[in-house]
Amino acid sequence: MAISISVTVNGKTYNHEVEPRMLLVHYLRDVLRLTGTHVGCDTSGCGACTVVVNGRAVKSCTMLAAQADGAEITTIEGLASNGDLHPLQEGFREEHGLQCGFCTPGMIMTAWQILQDNPNPSEEEIRHGLEGNLCRCTGYQNIVKAIQYAAKKIG
């Protein structure tokens, strides 16, 4: 039994029939072919799959596609506008907040939420916000700096 869903992803509306058990991350990756959202652990432990659903950062491996019916979703592919990098994307580049790049999209989408909640976060607030995202390459210092860079730029 398939379920009809209608979702708006990065400003574009899609209508699809999905299996009730299909996870949002698989819908984004396999149906819409938005592969910037990565699967790192399947169990909401790593945050590589983080996207923004109705204005909140969500781990898309722990949400069903069916639950996203009617939602507005932003994935990493939808963050830059008119080819210009979002200040967060710029921050990760400028501060070298990335190495292998696999956790980067999830980090950036979580960071988006941090700045949404508080445009001028303290380092402690940034760390608190990033607690659910894992990076094995960087040691996090530059990720924190990248978000500080973006906060400054936006602010």
Binding site: T35, Q99, F102, T138
Partner: protein, 774 residues
């Protein structure tokens, strides 16, 4: 220069294996793995699994057309278990279906009957039973036996150090696509494309030239994809070969943790003899490496343990014994540091114990025994451009060690349940593959008629920033804009027989080859320019900012014009070149030689705060002085230092790899295996690079960076030990890492007479000898 992939990474446009566009008819594979750690296979029942909807085929060992053998050093590892299983997680069968879910569902209904055999998880127990891999090895310097008598103090002890799960964020992944005439292309998340090519060819029983392996980038490797990306590639290739359809195999996190090898746990005994003033006269150590069920890279990793067992110290009389012990755990494998960290940890334990007995600060012994110019390592090489003392002294001065000590001791005097601790950690790490033949790198450079440049090397980009450094080297050599340069995927058709991207050596080897390939093209271009413009000295032609200069003055030609003219005049605009650093050798019969091109040095000072009621702790700061030579890209290299440090700190503290006596992995998910997260990292990290530190043996004077910084993390163990001793000065704590908060509490409040707080059985405190195998 920023990371050249940054724009792609931050826009989510970088493609990892499972992001590649799906070819029509793509099938998905899942692996059935042994649920028992040791036994004889009586029967495998595939009937139920075959009936699952969506299942296309199931393959077992009998379906392998070539050789069922993937052991990289010793042929002791089948791709699929045939008659025996040797560890939980060992691949037995592969199910191919129309979706990953269908394949996994079918895997669950495979039934295997096994006659269970005795399970060994402890390396010392394995050693006693003669279950060893290769021969035990001993490095020796001076005369240890006759030195004990002249020592003022002799201290002995035992160390246990745990393994470490890689947790590369991208799990093992491969896509195998059959192509015409019995050929195949594999997109594999591997650090070693050539190993995948060679082994797939062997499994299929066909020549290597029929297999192409292509690698764009890895979502992390850390050694975990040096050799252990190979089995998954072979399995996907086997299925694709039989079905003549593209097959993808991506392990999920649980499967990846269960089925793949990790950093080796070691159990070691040490004996150290010193003069009263702290001068080390003799050191003897015996390392029992837990190799897991097959050799994998264990003997090579053991060798690096031997090389680094005296860390950054000169010890005139040393005997280092090490043996790989076969157990019924997944084959342990490469992990950043490659056995070096385990050897260095034991050395630091011996020094700590000696300092406690002599009642002097640990760093007094450390400083007194640091390597000096010309000092001999136990493997015969002499320290050249030794920077152990200079980095140490600079760290002590820059970060004001005496102020740190005063602050900490004052804090400890005024606080009862919370204690602070500090430790210094010098490192000395040899750069080169210890298997001399692997020290070769290749590059292929094309200049196209529009002036754009394409570079392929034998190196794999896995987050370490190799591609960025290649562009940096190319810009430096060519004198043109970085926008003109593209680093291609690593591909076995463009580069043959590449060594793995490992041993911190990729930039040295493949970057070195890139420089040479570019120089070939440049020398043709210069000759051509000299002829065309009637210039006498081609050597005095240079290219700067895209302009062709002669004796520093413009010739009127720019890069684009030069290339177009050269092409029309039929000058070759492509070059392949090779770099094999000279002077590296090692004789395994005498265990002496000159195995390393050079060494990387540095010193870290680590401070911690420990809550002695709860066992929890915070790493307050890490200050370090590191030797990068003349770095090619500081941003990338400092990123490597911070990342390596975080992994080293994690290994020593929270990353607790646990197996039970049945060989079951208990820490089998991110929920039960703690990874350093954003709060774990030190509140303050200061990195000072050694200045005016040239390195004529590295590209443009640079030094390798990848592995050495991990070993700074070892210091945190001793900082915590300092804090524990401040709280309980009368207790004698066992040397056992990782020092999790739980173990801190057991140390502080448990019975510490016996060190048997590990799940692993502890052997008797007696001399053990192998039953056979030498």
């Amino acid at each position: 220069m920023k990371n050249i992939d940054a724009a792609l990474h931050t826009r989510g446009e970088s493609q990892y294996v499972s992001d590649l566009p799906k070819p029509a008819g793509l099938l998905y594979a899942a692996v059935f793995a042994s649920p028992v750690a040791h036994g004889e296979i009586v029967n495998i029942d595939l009937k139920k699994a075959r009936q699952h909807s969506g299942v296309i085929a199931i393959f077992t060992a009998r379906d392998i057309p070539g050789e069922n053998q993937i052991g990289p050093l010793i042929p002791d590892e089948p791709l699929l278990a045939d008659s025996m299983v040797h560890y939980i997680g060992q691949p037995v069968a592969i199910v191919v279906a129309v979706s990953p879910e269908a394949a996994r569902k079918a895997v669950k209904s495979i039934q295997m009957e096994v006659k269970e055999l005795e399970v060994i998880v402890d390396p010392r127990a394995a050693f006693q039973k003669g279950e060893i891999i290769g021969s035990p090895r001993t490095f020796e310097l001076g005369d240890v036996d006759s030195t004990w008598d002249v020592c003022d103090v002799i201290v002995e002890g035992k160390c246990e150090v745990g393994g470490q799960e890689h947790v590369y964020l991208e799990t093992q992944a491969v896509r195998a696509i059959p192509t015409e005439a019995g050929t195949m292309t594999l997109y594999s998340s591997t650090q070693s494309p050539h190993a995948v090519q060679r082994t797939v060819a062997k499994i299929l029983g066909i020549p290597s030239h029929r297999i192409t392996v292509d690698v764009k980038r890895l979502g992390g490797g850390f050694g975990g994809k040096e050799d252990q990306a190979t089995p998954w590639a072979c399995l996907a290739a086997l299925a694709a070969w039989h079905l003549q359809k593209p097959v993808e195999l991506v392990l999920n996190r649980h499967e990846d943790i269960l089925m793949t090898g990790k950093r080796h746990p070691y159990s070691s005994d040490f004996k150290i003899g010193l003069k009263k003033d702290g001068t080390i006269l003799a050191y003897e150590v015996r390392h029992y490496q837990n190799a897991g069920a097959s050799a994998d890279l264990s003997p090579a990793i053991l060798e690096r343990t031997l090389f680094h067992s005296t860390n950054a110290y000169f010890i005139p009389n040393a005997r280092i014994f090490a043996v790989s012990c076969r157990t019924n755990l997944p084959p342990f494998t490469a992990f950043r540091g490659f056995g070096g960290p385990q050897g260095m940890f034991v050395m630091e334990c011996a020094i700590a114990k000696a300092a406690e007995v002599l009642n002097i600060p640990r760093e007094e012994i450390q400083r007194k025994n640091l390597l000096k110019e010309g000092d001999e390592f136990p493997y015969g090489q002499k320290a050249e451009a030794a920077r152990a003392e200079v980095t140490w002294d600079k760290a002590v001065k820059t970060y004001d060690l005496s102020a740190i000590k005063q602050r900490i001791d004052k804090f400890n005097q005024t606080h009862f349940e919370v204690k602070k601790g500090y430790a210094l950690m010098p490192i000395c790490f040899g750069i080169s593959f210890t298997a001399t033949h692997l020290n070769q790198g290749s590059a292929l450079v094309h200049v196209y008629t529009d002036g754009s440049v394409s570079i392929t090397t034998g190196g794999v980009e896995m987050g370490q920033g190799f591609s960025t450094k290649v562009v940096e080297l190319a810009v430096k050599t060519l004198g043109i804009s970085p926008e003109r340069i593209r680093v291609e995927s690593t591909n076995t058709t463009r580069i043959a027989n590449m060594s793995p991207s490992a041993a911190s050596a990729t930039t040295d080897l493949c970057g070195g080859a890139t420089i040479r390939a570019i120089e070939q093209i440049l020398s043709r271009l210069k000759r051509f320019t000299a002829e065309q413009l009637s210039l006498e000295k081609p050597d005095e032609i240079t290219i700067q900012n895209e302009q062709v200069l002669y004796q520093g003055k413009p010739t009127g030609w720019d890069w684009k014009e030069l290339i177009q003219r050269a092409y029309m005049a039929r000058v070759s605009l492509s070059a392949h070149d090779f770099w094999a650093p000279p002077g590296i050798y090692f004789d395994r019969t005498t265990e002496k030689g000159h195995p390393f091109n050079y060494h990387v040095y540095g010193t870290a000072i680590i401070e911690v705060t420990l809550d002695c009621l709860r066992g929890i702790y915070q790493i307050d700061s890490v200050h370090l002085v590191h030797d990068l030579g003349r770095p090619v890209n500081k941003l990338v290299d400092i990123g490597q230092i911070e990342g390596g440090l975080a992994q080293g700190l994690g290994w020593m503290t929270v990353e607790d790899l646990q197996f039970d006596e049945k060989g079951r992995l208990l820490s089998n998910a991110l929920a039960s295996y703690k990874l350093p997260e954003v709060y774990f990292t030190p509140e303050k990290i200061d990195i000072t690079l050694l200045e005016k530190a040239d390195n004529p043996r590295g590209p443009y004077g640079s030094k390798a960076v990848g592995e050495p910084p991990l070993m700074y993390g070892i210091g945190v163990y001793f900082a915590l030990r300092y804090a524990m001793r401040a709280f309980a000065p009368d207790k004698d704590f066992p040397f056992q890492a990782p020092l999790t908060p739980e173990r801190v509490l057991i140390n502080l409040y448990g019975d510490t007479k016996s060190s048997s707080i590990s799940v692993k059985p502890q052997s008797e405190e007696k001399e053990v000898q192998p039953v056979s195998g030498k």
